[in-house]
Amino acid sequence: MQRIGVFVCHCGSNIAATVDVEKVVEYAKLEPGVVHAEDYQYMCSEAGQMKIAEAVKDKNLTGIVVCSCSPRMHETTFRNAAKRAGINPYMVEIANIREHCSWIHKDIEEGTEKAVILARAAIAKVNLNAPLEPGESRVTKRALVIGGGIAGIQTALDIADAGYEVDIVEKTPSIGGRMSQLDKTFPTLDCSACILTPKMVEAAAHEKVNIYTYSEVDKVSGFVGDFTVDIKKKARSVDMDKCTGCGVCSEKCPMKKTPSEFNRGLENRSAIYTPFAQAIPNVPVIDRENCIMFKTGKCGVCSKVCQAGAIDYEQQDEIITENYGAIVVATGFDTIKLDDFDEYAYNQSKDVITSLELERVMNAAGPTKGHLERLSDGKAPKEIVFIQCVGSRDVTCRGKEYCSKICCMYTAKHAMLIRDKYPDVNVTVFYIDVRTPGKNFDEFYRRAVEEYQVNYIKGQVGKVMPQADGKLLVQGVDLLDNRQILKEADMVVLATAIEPEAGVRKIATMLTASIDTNDFLTEAHPKLRPVESPTAGVFLSGVCQGPKDIPETVAQAGAAAVKAIGLLAKDKLMTNPCTAKADELLCNGCSTCANVCPYGAITYEEKEINDHGIRENRRVAAVNTALCQGCGACTVTCPSGAMDLQGFSNRQILAEVDAICR
């Protein structure tokens, strides 16, 4: 029989307001095995943990139940407290009487009754707990960063600087990401390329950083400390070692009708191309879908003009398999498609563009060489209307419920830059709210309004109507003046919502990392573990976790790097001891469990078994605890109940069921 101590936390008034904690203590004392029960203001405090230690000593406890917040919050805290007090940490169970009880029930009687039952279930479970010892697993001292934008670059550099090998996998032909497409950055207005390019060069030159561009993660197996990843290096059709980056091939390529991804389709590129001048690596790729040679077998111009003989039409996709201790996801974002937003006439008029397209228009390397002009006729615009929250804060299914966070600031930036360079251009911004928290952010926005006389109108735009004369008629509303507005504009810029890069769901699935309904990756804890995924060894960097601007992204990238470094610095990891275990006396050796094990952790051995005096050779299951992650799929498949899960055994769960249904 266990000697169980029950500790009921008030959590200030978080629990105590809707649960009569003293009553929980009183009822807990009646349960079998309970030799001690008490309540305390904050069990997680040092004083609270001391109480556990004292009771362990005084009452000779063998098991502990803490009735408190979610085990996802403080299970580790209380397990460590138990360990310090001299009890096996796995003799602790948590009754979640906060998230699952006090916070959702208003009636104190109801709350108390439920808390008592939840406590009972935990007590019933602890009665059947057994001490467990974690095993050890090795750590491969190499990290993988998925995505080569500013988030990925920063994370990789920080990890590399700490002395660990890092591989960056980037799906496009160059690292740089969205930031490389930006012209200027807020709130300092410094040139994006000027601050990004040195980082890109640093990453490329760093001896610990290895970059796979034009590559994708194909398969992931393993677990924290020892992931095995297949990276698919797509055929570049250009030999990276031979290419000198002279650019003659792109220049001479006869096929120049493919919309440039880098310039957001505002300009065409050749079939063999380097996305932008500062690309790293400065080695072009052949876009096989649009290459005449690949389509018809007749061309070969690039091969003829290449002095270095670097063109290789025969190149094949290559799979590289590498082991990693930690994986950082930095897959970034894209703007949403505007096909469902007909009212803004985006697909009808070339002069309605997204803000990211405006970045390219304003950029010296962009389609207009940095001149602000209408894309339809090349004329200089005199009236520009910016529309905020296009698809953001939109509860209809076509848009996104969340705020894209960066739009208010970049629109202020655009407005300011335009007014600065072209004082004769009028700029109007339609907005729902202007949100500018951040260091020097509101000051920046105020400058746009006060110094640059940008005309901000609180209200939404209902419709943009292209006119016969090429003008755009913007129909909106001024909520402060409570009046309809009809405004003629030469150009309309849409602050388009951002969403996680397509394909992140596939990556999340491969990594078994949680993802939310908007396809943002989920944090292990939204406040306390914001750069870790709930999947151990997987970290989050940049916008893949939620909308962010550049400084936030860089800060988070560094934080993700630190978490990865903290993992890589360890020589061994403690493994989860809640693994499957076969009772050899009951095992039929039928192999059914091995069929459902996602980790290949179950093998079979011929073994002499002493079954109550009968000795015979039997085929029995053996679980490799280093591989087993403790899902329990095998336990249900096993017809005889030979396979059980430690920490979540059949009897433990049934005891909980019984306690709840009592």
Binding site: L586, N588, G589, C590, T592, N595, P639, S640, G641
Partner: protein, 319 residues
Amino acid sequence: MQELINKSKELLASGSINRVLGWKAGDLSYNPEPAFFTSEEELADFIYDDFCAANLSKFMIEAAKKEGKTLVFLKPCDTYSFNQLLKEHRVDREKAYIVGVGCSGKLSTTKIKEQGVKGITKITTNGDTLEIATLYGDKSLNRSDVLLERCHVCKGKEHRIYDELIGESKETSDRDKFKEVEMLEKMSPEEKFAFFQQELSKCIRCNACRNVCPACSCRKCVFDSDKFDSAQKLNANSFEEKMFHIIRAFHVAGRCTDCGECSRVCPEGIPLHLFNRKFIKDIDELYGEFRAGEDAETVGPLTSFTFDDAEPQEAVERG
């Protein structure tokens, strides 16, 4: 029958097998029982007739532990069970010499008795008729009227696994195997419940179904171990008492070959095969037709999946 005995004698004499697993005459002419034979003398009791319904596959688990090879006689439907056991590593193919025996349907003594026949002394088959000598005179019955339930849904005359074949087989299937299940499915919840409550209330927990079932081959049944707090004596634990048949059926779901032994041996006549057949029907409809024991390799439906399987709610609410 003589051919089977001759084959057994020949192989025993040659030393290529150590024993024979077959049927021997029981105390009555219509209740032969499974038996091992190790010598020519013992084979004098060997019998193979219309009442040799017992599926010998499960006995091969014991045989696998014995020295040397065992000759086993398997009817076409029995070979499904053998394959399933082979898949689960419960029998040893190397230690089995499988003689596929001919079968043209086996008879149900229960059904014969239900026809009002009493005091049977001898039964002889004459084509499609059954000549029965009883204490009260001779009777004759139509063979098809007293076929075992499982023979009406015969799996076919093909042996799925064997070393050699002796005798002719005949496919006796003349019913839709899911008909009974479908009838029940169409009933209202109240009617269904009333039906099963009545049937299950007859159960005396004798474990005959479990003991005969070739899929219920665990070294130790969950109901006999303490892994689920269910190891209690009869009637002591209401969980075991109430849920036994549902749990048993679930444990063999995807593994059950529908051999029908459970219903055949139930002393209370509970149609236990209905549980198994419901699972088989659901599996066929939801995950594609699957016949356990057709071979010894295919992964079973509960240990595999597809990405677009039906959701449980859809599974229940379909048609």
